[in-house]
Symmetry: C2
Subunit: 389 residues, 2 copies
């Protein structure tokens, strides 16, 4: 966090900072890493954010602690199968329209934005809109990672309402939903998204500052930037990026455990776009008798080594390129890629019984009790042929 501290020494908290044009590549890489294979194509999010910042926009990231209790905080995201979003690029105007319609419904302007999740595109989208509209973004989110459904956020787990929420498309059309449960809100938004061609823009979870402080996962924008930077810097200096990453995770204010779970070659990818999701599984082989299978629904949800579970949602399972340590999202997995599978622990508030009811294995119809990945997996030894990069 050293560079952030230097930048923000005029602020009250080390958690306040600015994201500059030069930070975007690192930020997006870190977000994709924490995104567990989901959250959409990081490259699109990067282009969108670089375009806004290269126009001279500034983007203030503010600490959760400094948020005033009576501020109106709103989350914005894009929704749909990442496989569709590759072809149907998000529109900043449609995002702005979603926020405006929500403000109309609430009779009040938003003061601050907050990402729904940390992932390839949905951690970037609120930054793009914040830069465009001059709105600050809270250094926090609702998952600390990415998840496939809108109710799978700490905002809702700890008591905030998804509704009213607004779904828009790039044609200027909108659907404003008032739902009684967050899950119904998700279902109604999902069907509107399907009707809008499989990808849409959403403004949701309008909260007070006080609610946000109670329900958000703190500091996650800073974590994404730091993790992306750790990998980037190590790569430039010829160090091993995974080790730089794991060191950086261990040094966080709330330390995290990161380790390599497996290393091998992708020998099978099955993927269908169904019900608005990218669902499937990938098989990674190290030897004819040693393989890892990962199930995903937009995000990687469970990893089984030779049929034994070694990491389960909500812990983060991310596949990275064996050579560059660049995260690979679930929709771009390809046969023949040489990869490492990384496990990263999630913050404590994602491992509570309340959280596990909404984002644990059974929430995804995986009939297993959650166990922290660090207790059911063994650290992988570095491969003997591993070279410095």
């Amino acid at each position: 966090m050293s560079r952030m501290r230097v930048k923000t020494d005029t602020n009250a908290s080390a958690e306040n900072f600015r994201i500059q044009l030069a930070d975007v590549e690192d930020f997006v890489r870190g977000a994709a890493l924490l995104g567990a294979g989901g959250g959409g194509d990081p490259y699109i999010g990067r282009l969108m954010l670089e375009r806004e910042l290269s126009r001279g926009a500034t983007l203030d990231i503010v600490s959760l602690d400094e948020l005033l209790d009576d501020k109106l905080v709103v989350s914005v995201c894009v929704m749909g199968a990442p496989t569709v979003m590759i072809e149907k690029v998000p529109s900043v105007l449609a995002l702005e329209n979603a926020l405006r319609r929500l403000e109309e419904t609430l009779g009040r302007r938003a003061d601050t934005l907050i990402p729904l999740e940390i992932g390839g595109i949905n951690s970037t989208v609120p930054l793009v809109l914040g830069a465009r509209m001059g709105l600050p973004v809270v250094n926090a989110d609702g998952m600390g990672r990415a998840f496939p459904e809108l109710q799978m956020v700490t905002f809702g787990i700890y008591g905030a309402d998804i509704s009213p929420l607004v779904v828009t498309n790039e044609r200027g059309e909108s659907v404003t939903i008032k739902s009684l449960s967050n899950k119904t809100g998700e279902h109604l938004a999902r069907s509107a998204t399907a009707q809008m061609g499989g990808a849409a823009h959403v403004a949701l979870y309008p909260m007070t500052g006080a609610q946000t402080k109670r329900t958000a996962v703190r500091n996650t924008l800073a974590v994404a930037l730091e993790m992306g930077r750790a990998i980037g810097h190590a790569r430039m200096r010829g160090h091993r990026p995974e080790e730089a990453l794991f060191d950086a995770l261990a040094r966080l204010p709330e330390p995290r455990i990161g380790r390599i779970l497996f290393r091998g070659k992708i020998v099978d990818v099955r993927r269908t776009t169904s019900g608005g999701f990218n669902r499937g599984e990938v098989l990674i082989e190290r030897s004819p008798t040693d393989s890892l299978r990962i199930e995903f629904q937009n995000e990687n949800l469970a990893a089984y080594r030779n049929s034994v579970p070694i990491a389960l949602t909500p812990d983060i399972i991310t596949i990275i390129d064996d050579d560059t340590a660049e995260p690979i999202t679930a929709e771009t997995l390809k046969f023949g890629q040489r990869v490492q599978v990384v496990g990263i622990s999630v913050p404590r508030m994602m491992r509570t019984p309340e959280a596990l009811r909404v984002v644990g294995p059974r929430a995804f119809h995986i009939d297993l009790d959650y166990q922290p990945f660090e207790t059911i997996s063994a650290p992988e030894r570095p491969a003997s042929n591993s070279k410095a990069r």
Copy 2:
């Protein structure tokens, strides 16, 4: 129309009248007859309206001509497969909620209601809400019959916007849609309805009085009441109800042609509830070499006698009980029923090229040019065993 004229002699127009508790049975029968087999279960609509009127509510039906140009006119309806609506009875509170939400979006209260269509339930629903809220209902509708989709109305055909529209359920949840095209509005509302369990409540087509006068099919509430009454009275007096009906149709201000197209026994019904619709076909046999096949999507759309088309949408094809002349909706057709098939011509404004693009055979993927049913069908002779009833 004699009884209406007597009732309304203090009004400027013969098209103004009141619907009283004693009228409901006739009105609902007439609406089901004009509904072409669709528009939902008439019995449910009858119960809902009788409940409101038996509480002493009054219900004013006002002439299209007397509507002031700057009034806000709104349509309300229930949406979904009639097969589902039998189990999931519409809620007046949810209808009122839909109207309220639409008013909030428009920033203005509705002055008058208008039915979207004439059919078993959707000609009754605005009357129920009007009686409950003390709002008058225009003596007109958007189809002069029933059709399965929300964009299939003269309102839209002649230039009005479906949007903003609001879809609600009985739990108090709502979806407010702003669409650019009426067809997109239909698609978005349909998917919200599917998510809400296959049946929902809608407020839509907010129009000025001036727009309503340009786009609505006039006098259709009076026509429904008169036709239902013609059948009912004839039955009581032991006359042939079909003939009383055809006479009444010919005496309308814009005269209509009605005739028996076929008479026989239902020997096959195929029905699926798919995409939110009740789709299928029914086969009626008179003899081993003489049969009539009717295709339906909620409503009856095309009738083929021994494979030759003899009536096509938008003309009204209704199946009535051979004995009582009571209309039978498409979702209650049963093997073994003895029936007559009635053809009724629609008003001129439903047969224009603009209208045929939206509600003609090709709008339903029936690859035939529209021809008026009176030019392609022969009048059926009364069966020799026909008795007076």
